[in-house]
């Protein structure tokens, strides 16, 4: 297979990756802006915090990954741990 053929895939071009990320960031910003434009039916105390779900989603995932990385120190073993 020639190199040329390989390069035709969409994410081999860094510009496409950048474009995708740019669209993604824009959507994130718009979602926060929408938080102030749309009248929300709030049922819970937490939801009074502006952009609560955005903050919560971000913090929750960072926390998840940090804790999971720490967990590796305790639970991670060799791939063939049980076979020995």
């Amino acid at each position: 297979m020639s190199k040329k053929f390989e390069n035709t895939h969409i994410f081999d071009n860094p510009r496409n990756v950048k474009l995708l990320l740019a669209v993604f960031y824009t959507i994130c910003v718009l979602l926060v802006v929408a938080d102030f434009l749309i009248h929300r039916h709030i049922t819970m105390e937490w939801e009074k915090i502006p952009a609560f779900y955005a903050l919560y989603g971000f913090v929750a995932c960072v926390l998840l990954v940090v804790v999971a990385k720490l967990m590796r120190k305790i639970v991670m073993r060799e791939e063939n741990y049980y076979d020995e």
Binding site: E6, H9, F11, L21, F24, Y25, I27, C28, L31, V32, A34, D35, I38, H39, R40, H41, I42, T43, M44, E45, W46, E47, A51, F52, Y53, A54, L55, Y56, G57, F58, A60, C61, V62, L64, V65, V66, V67, A68, K69, M71, R72, I74, V75, M76, R77, E78, E79, N80, Y81, Y82, D83
Partner: protein
């Protein structure tokens, strides 16, 4: 005819499959779920109870209501999709097992008494283990054995609980059980094993990743969902299930983040999804129970879809380790697209099936004032997206280019994945059809601006966290490794404890022996040093010579006795 239990169709088909081959066999395999679904749809109504007497046992094979019917439709659908996916596998034992397995699931949801439930409960166990053993590796055979031990244990507990229940109430009917009696707790543990409660879940994360590429698709559809059905019927509204469910939804996502085997990641996320169902059952309001059932319905389809995409990769590449995959979108674009649909469904994106079902459980939590617990479930929702929604497609199909260029999945696999993907989008965008099948009366509509915006914010910012962590290099790399979970207790701790016990007894025996033998040696030694040892007879001659001398003496005595004193 109208009361023919649908499992009979599947069991007959299993026999026909044994007797046929080639095209005819494929037609039987594909036609069975369709015929069974049509039979249920046209002939079986709610409110039937039909009892058969077999060997003086009264078995209620058919007890129908909306709860059993929706699961019956679901199981027909799931077995149809899984059968298409597995069509290129020409393995008789897996084909027969698939029919018996799906048939047993149908038998279990229509079972009106504990004995019938027990029979199908055990048939589910025995037929499903075939999918693990069929892999043929040593690991798979061991994992299958451990899987079977748990499944059979669950059945034994169910039977024991049923007998205690019979003692107390005089009835074998399977209805609401509750936790007021000992029987209730025993049966709860039996159901709990099959629905992978925390600490009882080892068989699932251990067994499912070892099954064949197509087998896991079957496995993910039936066992845990039959258990969810049984919980919904027997333990609706038991508050302890709310907490059990939340634990199930939260702890597996940590494991899923660091797990390398992508099918094991899906096994953990299966427990996480069942957690949402168990929580719904625990809340016990009409909305929550409907949410649990609806979520079981959409989960079977999207989790099946995700297991299918990973099965297709396993089929083409030969392994499913995140650390050695990546860039597969280049040669498997259709599988990639289906995987993304499955990922968006499980993550509950608006317009995809997870959104319309999971949100019922979430709303029910809010309505019943579990607002702190609701935060945990929101955490679990974000976590699902993180590991199942992003990690699975990203590490398999994108990430760094592994250089692998496997062929696109076979056509039958693509058809099965396409069907599941289409259904996920259909359910998500037209939820009224699924809602009309739900067993309880509750008004609910998921699409309003507040809810959609909230969900989009949650998901997009979870994704943002992933992008940010990746860019910072903080995201844990995929590593070839084993992560210790509850199975460590019975795979390492107890066996090594047993081994240590054996070693202890062995050394104890050796010490005792040497302690006993040493003085004997010493006595012999001191004897050999003594003056008596000088005499001819005291030498350590063979026993025979001693016997000879004794006989000579005895004969001498005898002769003396006869001739001298006689």
């Amino acid at each position: 005819m109208s009361e023919l239990p649908p499992f009979v169709l599947y069991f007959v088909a299993a026999l026909l499959v044994l007797a046929s081959r080639g095209m005819v066999r494929n037609i039987i395999l594909l036609a069975t779920p369709i015929i069974a679904a049509l039979h249920i749809w046209l002939n079986i109504e709610t409110g039937i109870t039909s009892t058969y007497t077999i060997l003086s046992l009264e078995l209620t094979f058919m007890r129908t209501d909306k709860l059993s019917l929706i699961f019956a439709y679901l199981f027909c659908l799931a077995s149809f999709i899984a059968t298409i996916f597995a069509l290129q596998v020409k393995d008789t034992k897996q084909q027969v097992a698939g029919l018996v397995y799906a048939g047993s699931a149908l038998g279990a949801v229509f079972a009106g008494d504990f004995i019938t439930l027990f029979i199908f409960w055990e048939l589910l166990a025995v037929s499903s283990v075939v999918f693990i053993w069929a892999r043929g590796t040593e690991r798979a055979i061991d994992a299958g054995m451990r899987y079977l031990v748990f499944q059979v244990l669950s059945g034994v507990l169910l039977l024991a609980g049923a007998l205690v229940h019979y003692q107390a109430t005089g009835s074998m009917a399977f209805n609401h059980i509750g936790l007021d009696s000992t029987a209730g707790w025993i049966i709860l543990i039996a159901f709990g094993i099959k629905s992978a409660f925390p600490f009882l879940h080892g068989w699932l994360t251990d067994g499912y990743p070892e099954a064949t590429a197509t087998g896991t698709v079957f496995l993910s559809a039936f066992t845990t969902k039959v258990a969810v059905y049984a919980l919904a019927r027997g333990f609706a509204g038991e508050e302890i299930l709310v907490y059990v469910g939340i634990t199930m939804a939260c702890f597996p996502i940590f494991y899923a983040v660091i797990e390398n085997d992508l099918r094991k990641v899906l096994a953990y996320s299966l427990i996480n999804q069942v957690g949402f169902m168990v929580t719904g059952i625990g809340i016990g309001t009409a909305l929550a129970l409907n949410g649990a059932v609806a979520h079981a319905f959409s989960d079977v389809i999207f989790k099946g879809l995700l297991f299918m995409t990973m099965g297709a990769v396993l089929h083409r590449v030969g392994h499913i380790n995140g650390s050695n995959l990546g860039g597969l979108y280049k040669s498997m674009p259709k599988t990639t697209a289906f995987c993304i649909v499955g990922a968006m469904s499980i993550s509950a994106f608006p317009l995809f099936s997870g959104f319309v079902s999971k949100s019922m459980v979430m709303s029910a939590l809010v309505k019943e004032d579990y607002s702190y617990l609701w935060l945990f479930m929101l955490f679990a929702s974000a976590g699902v997206f993180h590991h199942a929604g992003i990690k699975i497609p990203y590490f398999a199909f994108f990430a760094h280019d592994s250089g692998l260029r496997p062929k696109e999945a076979p056509i039958n696999m693509l058809v099965a994945m396409g069907l599941a993907a289409a259904l996920s989008i259909f359910i998500g965008s037209q939820p009224q059809y699924l809602y009309s099948l739900l067993p309880w009366e509750a008004e609910y509509w998921p699409y309003d601006a507040t809810h959609v915006l909230a969900q989009l914010q949650l998901l997009f910012f979870s994704a943002l966290a992933f992008v940010w962590l990746n860019k910072q290099g903080l995201y844990p790399p995929e590593l070839r490794s084993t992560n210790l979970d509850v199975e460590w207790i019975y795979r390492k701790f107890l066996p090594s404890g047993f081994q240590r016990g054996l070693n202890f007894f062995r050394t104890a025996r050796e010490t005792a022996m040497s302690a006993a033998i040493a003085p004997m040696h010493r006595i012999r030694h001191s004897f050999s040093q003594s003056s008596i040892a000088q005499y001819h007879l005291s030498e350590s001659w063979p026993t025979g010579s001693m016997v000879l001398w004794i006989s000579i003496i005895l004969v001498a005595y005898l002769l003396l006795d006869i001739f001298v004193y006689g």
